[in-house]
């Protein structure tokens, strides 16, 4: 049986490609856009009709075009050392390099605004260099930590977020949102409409609820119906446009197509023997790696964080205050994926839900924020009976990646799992 991609996948990537083209046209005609980090309140920009481009998405696009090696060599030649974070900085380096034609789709025009959250220590540095380079207005959002993180954050965060994330932190974030709103108003000349924003937040919640149904389908299907290389664009492209009519329609299309596959018994591998999870950001320059063990071991990667996180990371009841609910969504967004005990507890819960046998854990050595908590998570997964393989590499820098060597390390582990399951 040959794996057939979902029709939704091409629809998502086509949409995004056309969106970027339209964005370029809009900007040429005077529309201003913002370049923002993934853990910032995209909702505020969307609500005020200011286009945004997400740093990590653009980084993944550059890496997928096999350009990261060139840019990271350039980065070092310019005097930045080789141990600095790469995922969050690749677009900056491309901007500093200056040749827009080298970049995917002719590169990005200069943004009017930059926005990052100080969840990682280097985000302020990276975005301030960008601001110095482009003259764009820079907004940095504070990121005080949650001092007493409840392990089961995903259950409490839906409604009980005030207590989980703490009133003082949410007050601070709302205060900073209000400043950001004023800045967007000044740049665009548009006014923030609280009622329209409340409706928009409800729409996002509907979208994330659909993704939750999709996640449940993948988790509970007898065999995995979709490769994670397809899960990711079908989730993340609508997430970059979350709450829009297209995004909700696409989420429904994706969920329905998955349901049809499950109903028809379509699966990634005909006789699924091993279920694997990929922990960490995508391996953007080699997404075909996710299919590497399908034929040899009947092993499918069934889990990556993007689909389940759409529900657990985004669904926040408005509790009568949509702006505050947005603060709850944003105020620990990234930390939940990297900070113990949040990451270890969530990994175990997800591994159980998805019936995982083996986890591959991407640990980026030079993107410390994304690597923190990895070994705590590894220990928790192993205690829960999951075999964990550490992959010390980077999500966008192919210079650190030796696929054959990784395959050689994983193969004996999968052989052993097959033996344990008496499937050899």
């Amino acid at each position: 049986m040959t794996y057939q991609p979902l029709a939704a996948t091409a629809a998502a990537t086509d949409y995004q490609r056309n969106w970027v083209k339209q964005l370029r046209t809009q900007i040429t005609s005077g529309t201003q856009y913002a370049f923002v980090n993934a853990d910032t309140p995209h909702e505020l920009f969307h609500a005020m009709d200011m286009p945004i481009v997400t740093n990590q998405w653009w980084s993944a696009v550059i890496a997928a075009k096999q350009l990261s090696q060139y840019y990271f060599d350039y980065m070092q030649a310019e005097g930045f050392h080789e141990r600095l974070a790469r995922y969050s900085s690749l677009p900056l380096i491309a901007e500093l390099e200056g040749d827009a034609e080298r970049q995917p789709w002719g590169g990005l025009p200069k943004p009017a605004m930059l926005c990052a959250r100080l969840s990682a220590d280097d985000h302020g540095k990276i975005f301030s260099l960008w601001a110095e380079q482009t003259g764009a207005h820079l907004t940095l959002l504070s990121a005080p930590a949650v001092p007493d993180p409840d392990p089961e954050w995903w259950s409490r965060a839906r409604v009980d977020w005030e207590e989980l994330y703490h009133t003082d932190r949410l007050d601070l974030m709302v205060g900073e949102f209000e400043t950001l709103i004023a800045d967007i108003e000044a740049l665009t000349g548009r006014r923030f409409d609280p009622e329209a924003f409340a409706r928009y937040m409800d729409a996002i919640d509907r979208q994330e609820a659909i993704f939750e149904e999709a996640s449940d389908l993948v988790a509970t299907a007898p065999q995995c119906p979709i490769r994670i290389a397809e899960q990711i664009p079908n989730v993340m492209i609508p997430q970059w446009h979350r709450g829009s009519d297209w995004a909700i329609d696409h989420a429904q299309r994706f969920r329905d197509e998955l349901a049809e596959r499950v109903e028809a018994g379509v699966s990634v591998v005909e006789d699924e023997k091993i279920r694997m999870m990929w922990i960490g950001a995508g391996l953007w320059f080699d997404t075909s790696f996710y299919a590497a063990f399908e034929e040899s071991h009947g092993a499918a990667f069934v889990w990556s964080m993007y689909l389940p996180f759409a529900a657990d990371g985004y669904r926040r009841a408005s509790n009568g205050d949509p702006l505050r609910a947005l603060a709850a969504r944003v105020s620990a967004m990234n930390e939940q994926l990297h900070q113990p005990p949040w990451i270890n507890a969530w990994m175990v819960e997800q591994a159980r839900k998805y019936r995982i046998d083996v986890a591959l854990m991407l640990i980026p050595q030079h993107d410390r924020f994304s690597g923190h908590g990895s070994l705590y998570a590894k220990a928790a997964l192993e205690a829960a009976g999951v075999k964990v393989i550490e992959v010390w590499s980077d999500m966008v820098d192919q210079r650190d990646w030796d696929r054959d060597a990784v395959v050689r390390r994983i193969t004996p582990v999968l052989d052993a799992v097959l033996e344990e399951k008496h499937l050899t």
Partner: protein, 371 residues
Amino acid sequence: MTTVIGQTAAAGELLESACAAADRLGDSESLPRIGLFGLGVPEGLVAAAGSVCIHVNFGASPDNEPMRDVIEPFVDHEVRVFLNRFALGDFNGLAGVVFARDDAAALTAYQYATEWVRQGRAPVGTPPLFLFNLVHSRTVAAQKFNRIQCDKLVNFLVRVGLDRPGDAAMSAMAALSRRRDGLLQAARAVPGALTTQWRNAGRFMSVAAHTELLERAVADFDRAERAGPRLGLVGSAVDDPGFLAMLDRVGVLVADLQAYGQFWPGAWEQKADIEAMLDVLSGDPSCPRIVPPQNHRQSLVDRVVAAECDLVVCQLAQTDDTFGWELPALKAALAAHGIRFVHLGFRDHRPDADWLAGAEQKLVQALEAAP
């Protein structure tokens, strides 16, 4: 092993011994001891509550590393040492430990230690841990938030048995800090390796004891003006005696702009009023997380220029992921002032003789080259 500083040795030697003993320095003041991790905690406030502040991130690696399996290789050396010592119960005599959120190493130390406690793996007698969540921003929202963090810190101190700091105690601490700061300024005639030890000895004793020893040590010291190229030091936190001695051979360290250098003690310690103290602390440009971020680099340049440096030396810990973003722009900004900049690259916590010899050679060559 506990070292108790005697009263008969010369004050300079006492400061050097205290610095070497670090948090194992004996407690001769009979006050509760509060551990501190990271730059950015209002130590005067903690002391005014009736305690002695003891920095817990300066010890040596233990032979046994109970937390080794959960500490990634990119975690800072000082965090690794602290965590393993913490898990061994080395800090059990402390009344509590306060961590600065905006200090990268301190946040990781807090989160990993807290998880160790949550998992029930910490030894009996582990002190309570507190995260001081102050953000380095001066917006109205940040000011309100930071005041709450200060109140939370005070509540924590009261919870562990200390007093609520009163105005008189705060004023006394601020006055002592001002006096100590004057002595540290005077101590700049002392070679860099020595002045760093004299300064950092204060991390392990009361401000009063530190001030008294500094007063005697400065008075004892031959204050002949030291000659040589004027050096600045930037980059990762470094207190290695061998490294600092190497700089002393090359020139005179007049601007030690790193977390184990002149960034401590912070200028906010000289403020008796809490609002004024928080204002200085939240705007401290030595914090790499300051908003706006450009203030950090600009502050380094301003201080280097004010100190009339001939050459600025940069060095980085093996785990640096932040300061490296400053390098090209800092080098260019200094060049605009005619100041040379040498980046020595990555170094170990205690660099070996070969590394130090290579570094010295690079600095000498840079000084010999035409500006």
